[in-house]
């Protein structure tokens, strides 16, 4: 008598395949399950943060404390933090002519004794580099070091090199940042008189602009620089975004300008939340 393979009842598999497809359809089209997913993310990130900061680090530092190096280590950490803060601060000041859309806000920034009042320094909590290199979802999670941002959603995020993205979710004090290269992200950029919304390509360090030659007949050059236009009021204007890497023909009248970003988000652990309110 022939042996039948176990657990191969077609009915149950068809049922679960249909159920999975239905769930997938709901999530893919309407993001129906974003709430439970965010709740899960929040709990995992908070737990990681707690374990790392309150259990792992004290354990690692314990032998060093025994050797009376506590103050030295603290001083070293503080100095490193201060240097990274200064990098971001310098970036803000170097762009102070156009950093904020409103002139009065710029004056307020310059008048303030502490220039970081408009930029909240935040620490990297998690960055899924696997997704960053393989797939279209380019996200990272940050947590402010000192102050909490009052209205963090949509705020622009910078590091010491330039713009890297914007906050899309507030997960109870941990902010999810969508990078400029995320497939769902769109960045208003310009070069000379040409304006466009540069879409994330899903590839690390690459965003693209599509335009019609019927509307814009001037030629671009490889290496031509693109800056943020400030349209939409989320990103500060005149920040160097990147330069042209390639120009592709995608149809008879449409062209795609491929921009190589100036900023690499994986090089630093500190970021600034630009609060312009």
């Amino acid at each position: 008598m022939a042996n039948y393979a176990p657990n191969t009842s077609v009915f149950s598999y068809v049922f679960f395949v249909l159920l999975s497809s239905f769930l997938l359809y709901l999530d893919f089209t309407n993001e129906t399950f974003s709430k439970p997913k965010n709740t899960y993310k929040t709990s995992v990130l908070s737990l990681n943060y707690f374990i790392k900061n309150y259990i792992f680090e004290p354990l690692v530092q314990f032998p060093e404390l025994l050797h009376s190096k506590k103050n030295l280590i603290k001083q070293n950490n503080d100095l490193r933090l201060q240097v990274e803060k200064e990098y971001i601060s310098n970036f803000v000041l170097s762009k102070n002519n156009d950093f904020f859309l409103n002139e009065s806000k710029l004056n307020a920034l310059v008048d303030k004794e502490n220039n970081l009042n408009k930029v909240i320094i935040s620490k990297l909590i998690k960055f899924d580099t696997n997704n960053y290199f393989c797939c279209s979802n380019h996200r990272l999670f940050i947590k402010p070091i000192s102050d909490e941002a009052t209205e963090p959603l949509q705020s622009a995020i910078i590091n010491s090199q330039g713009l890297i993205g914007q906050i899309i979710y507030d997960l109870n004090g941990i902010y999810e940042v969508m990078l400029l290269t995320d497939i769902k992200h769109s960045t208003p950029v310009f070069s000379e008189n040409f304006h466009c919304n540069a879409k994330g390509s899903g590839k690390p360090g690459i965003i693209t602009c599509i335009y019609s030659e019927l509307i814009w007949d001037e030629q671009f050059a490889i290496g031509q620089k693109f800056y943020s236009s400030g349209l939409g009021g989320i990103f500060p204007k005149n920040i160097l975004i990147g330069d042209i890497l390639d120009i592709k023909n995608i149809s008879a009248s449409e062209k795609e300008v491929v921009l190589k970003l100036k900023v690499n988000p994986i090089t630093e652990n500190l970021f600034g939340i630009v609060v312009s309110s």
Partner: protein
């Protein structure tokens, strides 16, 4: 009754996912993606005498959807289909050589990568990546299978 406890399987799959997160960015430089978590699941589905049920594969898939942050149902769907294929060929596998089984795992791993990329990376979908992933996963599976065979011989020779 399952030989390995469900908790152990879940732990190992999640552990494999965490390894995958660190290792895959390196392999991506040569266009190879090795889905360690999926291969771990497939290994347990293959190893289990009675095979996983449709409901357990669906639930493990849902858990992986949460862990990986992909669309809910994506892993559930693929895990269900994979389990069905593995269970259907359960007795046929006995006739296969290690190389044939490795090719089978290479094929299902690249199918997994293809299906996930259809949803999470459609703009950069690459057949080159899929081909190299197929080759990479087949070699990886083969190395794992022969390591199991040759490891005791090496240890015996060294007297360990």
């Amino acid at each position: 009754m399952r030989e390995d406890s469900t908790l152990k399987i879940l732990f190992l799959i999640v552990l494999a996912y965490n390894i995958e997160v660190f290792i895959n960015p390196i392999f991506m430089n040569v266009n190879i993606i090795i889905p360690f978590s999926f291969l771990t699941y497939s290994y347990f589905a293959y190893k289990d005498k009675n095979g996983f049920t449709a409901s357990s594969s669906f639930l493990i898939g849902l858990l992986m959807d949460l862990v990986t942050g992909s669309y809910i149902g994506l892993n559930g769907l693929i895990y269900c289909m994979t389990t069905y294929v593995i269970n259907s060929y359960k007795y046929v596998f006995r006739l296969f050589s290690y190389l044939q089984i490795s090719i089978f795992f290479g094929i299902i791993a690249s199918t997994y990568v293809a299906l996930t990329h259809l949803f999470v990376n459609i703009n950069n979908f690459s057949y080159l990546t899929l081909l190299l992933t197929l080759i990479g996963n087949t070699i990886f599976s083969f190395l794992i299978s022969i390591a199991r065979v040759y490891k005791p011989i090496i240890f015996k020779r060294r007297g360990i």
